[in-house]
């Protein structure tokens, strides 16, 4: 048999029907749902008198609109409240399991899925949200879909799709101390560009990827979409199985063992081919920080804001000039000389327990700098928050002057009350630094939790190793 890559295996095992024109009916194992992109889909079911094909495949949680403080009092903003209440009633009506806002298990959908074992190796996982790529860390085929497709999957358990091309990104060698999965992700995007992965499903491999924890792999796959790829994935290994074992939705006992035998086949065969291959030397990667309004506008922490004047391509130069103007930065400014107004540690990219531990390790015994108006930690889920509190991480943050919030998307996209004011500069562990993403006129620098924590205590970007 011809050697197959991981994407081939995942794709082929889910094709219900192949049409001559290249489209396929693809079976969906897990459907995650949140409040913003689902109301019209549920309404569509109702209007057409349809019911979900398999309720047990669906798990819902409200995350985008939920407040991160005082939520016992409910949601103040009426439009947000209506969206969340609509999700509640839709789930009740259609018999779908939902973690409601005050449930300990509530959190960002891409944190909750893996945490519950609702995301398993070999699955197809969809959600009306582009960062569904996160779940590919489990050797799952996971990608975001639109509202019409949400309805389609609810009603048919399938999606009409076309196979993408495959790309392998191999990160070989050893990552330097202080270099995180977020840095690997930003480095890759800086290297191949935000459209570099367009049309591809991306597999991350190489010993530097193997060395990442499951949470690190999730961070990496989460950002695959920022490189243009709808899906990112990592092959199964012992770490995958260890992570999945014992989760509430995971199989138990003998069934778990049987599952492992299958899951262990979820890797690219020796000699499998890819439509595109990129190899990266792990040793080249330094901690990263973005300077512009696209994740590809990124430099190492000890680097400087680039000079558009040195760029020959006029389109690229203009893009850089526009970004610098929006960001209020001058060429050749050292990144470490840039002061921040706010710090946000959270989002589906970096809000898991390891992220919080890493940030707390830097914050411990220090205090948020005087020029920083707000430093906040928003755990990815109620369970992450609870775990952090068990470990005393909340005290470390609070004692240092951070705000310790309730779980949700929060200032990643500023749909609730958490947002930047015009001109404010933020060190953020989220995934998008687009204009206005964290609030109109807000300026976002994407970094790892370590760098965000260091920026909070220093008041400016700094390599954590240089903190006194």
């Amino acid at each position: 048999m011809k050697p197959r890559n991981l994407y081939d295996k995942l794709w082929e095992s889910h094709v219900v029907r192949q049409e001559e024109d290249g489209t396929a009916l693809l079976y969906i194992d897990r459907h995650l749902v949140h409040e913003v992109t689902s109301p019209q889909a549920f309404e569509g079911l109702r209007i057409n008198g349809r019911t979900p094909w398999r309720q047990g495949s669906v798990l819902a949680v409200a995350d985008h609109n939920v407040p991160t403080t005082g939520r016992e009092a409910g949601i103040k903003d009426p439009i947000s409240r209506l969206q969340v209440e609509t999700l509640d009633s839709n789930c009740e009506h259609f018999g779908i399991e939902e973690f409601r806002m005050n449930d300990l298990r509530q959190g960002i959908v891409h944190v909750v899925g893996p945490e519950q074992g609702a995301t398993l190796p070999g699955m197809t996982v969809v959600c009306g949200d582009s960062h569904t790529s996160t779940h590919g860390a489990f050797a799952a085929l996971a990608f975001g879909i639109g509202t019409s497709e949400v309805e389609h999957v609810l009603a048919t358990q399938c999606l009409i799709a076309r196979k993408s091309k495959s790309m392998r990104i191999s990160v070989e060698g050893k990552l330097s101390p202080g270099v995180t999965a977020k840095d690997v992700a930003l480095y890759i995007i800086g290297k191949i560009g935000t459209a570099g992965g367009t049309g591809y499903a991306m597999e991350f491999s190489g010993n530097a990827i193997r060395s990442l924890s499951m949470e690190g792999r999730m961070t990496l796959c989460n950002m695959a979409i920022e490189a243009g790829a709808r899906a990112g994935m990592v092959a199964v290994d012992e770490k995958t199985l260890d992570y999945v074992r014992g989760r509430p939705f995971s199989p138990k006992g003998e069934m778990f063992d049987a599952a492992c035998r299958y899951w262990n086949t979820l890797k690219s065969d020796e000699g499998a081919s890819f439509d595109s291959e990129v190899t990266i030397d792990a040793a080249e990667i330094r901690p990263q920080v973005t300077w512009g309004t696209s994740p590809e506008m990124v430099v190492p922490i000890d680097g400087s804001v680039p000079d558009p004047g040195k760029v020959a391509d006029p389109v690229k130069r203009q893009g850089m000039e526009k970004a610098l103007e929006y960001m209020g930065l001058k060429p050749d400014t050292k990144m470490e000389d840039i002061q921040v107004d706010k710090v946000f540690i959270g989002s589906c990219t970096n809000s898991r327990i390891e992220d919080l531990r890493a940030a707390a390790a830097i914050v411990r015994g220090r205090h948020v700098a005087g020029n920083v108006k707000l430093a906040m930690v928003v755990p990815g889920s109620g369970l992450v928050k609870h775990q952090a509190e068990e470990e005393g991480l909340d005290r470390i943050f609070i004692d240092a002057g951070f705000e310790w919030r309730d779980p949700g998307c929060s200032m990643c996209l500023a749909m609730n009350d958490d947002r930047l004011r015009p001109g404010e500069r933020c060190a953020s562990t989220s995934n998008r630094n687009f204009e206005g993403r964290q609030g109109p006129g807000g300026r976002t620098h994407l970094v790892s939790p370590e760098l965000a924590a260091a920026a909070a205590v220093a008041g400016h970007f700094i390599d954590p190793g240089k903190l006194s």
């Binding site: 079976y27 194992d29 398999r54 047990g56 209506l82 519950q116 398993l120 939705f249 778990f256 049987a258």
Partner: protein
């Protein structure tokens, strides 16, 4: 989705080119959690004299008597006659949602914006492209005779005017099939529901852990 085979309906003439989707349904109405209910706000800025916001009681708002949709002779119209580049601008599917909700079933124009054209088919609306001269003549006839109606036969791909004139139109066969049968993507996929069930059974026998209901 509603099937579309034949239609005999009142024609309302919207005599301006480049009608964009923001005009069809202004952006403040996109906050809705519904796909229906956009009808009262169809062409909101042209139709009412005041500024519309979601949640207003539209029945109490002052109507613009000059706007064609508000004229008595066009009440109950199901066919909209338009000019070039109908439905241009943003891709919002709310535009066909609003037209459909208002009661429009077919739109005749010399040309349509691509995305809007596609979105119509997904929502049970038939967009018909005709030569500009023919459309022009239909405009004249509509203006001249009160309660002017057209018959549209999608299966035969023919429009018939009150004088008995027959006008042929093109439509791609796959889309025609979906519309005639009232099939949306979901309906089409459900044609294969036995195949999906069979696949699911096979899958369950090999990977039973995917089917334990959320770990229970």
């Amino acid at each position: 989705m509603k099937a579309f085979k034949q239609l005999n309906g009142i024609v309302v003439p919207l005599d301006r080119p480049n009608v964009d989707t923001d005009a069809i349904i202004p952006k403040q109405f996109l906050k809705s959690i519904h796909r229906s209910g956009f009808g009262p706000n169809l062409f909101d800025e042209w139709r009412y004299l005041d500024h519309g916001e979601p949640g207003m009681d539209n029945s109490k708002r002052p109507l613009n008597p000059e706007f064609v949709l508000n004229k008595k002779r066009y009440q109950g119209a199901e066919i909209l006659l338009g000019r070039e580049n109908f439905g241009c601008g943003s891709s919002r599917e709310h535009a066909p949602w609003a037209l459909e909700d208002y009661g429009i079933r077919a739109i005749i124009a010399p040309s349509f914006a691509d995305i809007f054209y596609n979105n119509c088919f997904k929502n049970g609306l038939l967009p018909i492209r005709l030569d500009a001269e023919i459309v022009d003549r239909l405009f004249r006839e509509t203006f001249e005779s009160e309660s002017y109606r057209l018959s549209v036969d999608l299966e035969k791909q023919l429009i018939e005017t009150p004088s008995g004139e027959k006008i042929a139109f093109d439509v791609d066969s796959f889309r025609k099939h979906c519309l005639v049968e009232g099939l949306d993507d979901i309906g089409l996929t459900l044609i294969h529901k036995d195949e999906i069930r069979a696949y699911e059974k096979r899958r369950e026998s090999v990977q039973p852990w995917l089917f334990n209901r959320n770990g229970k």
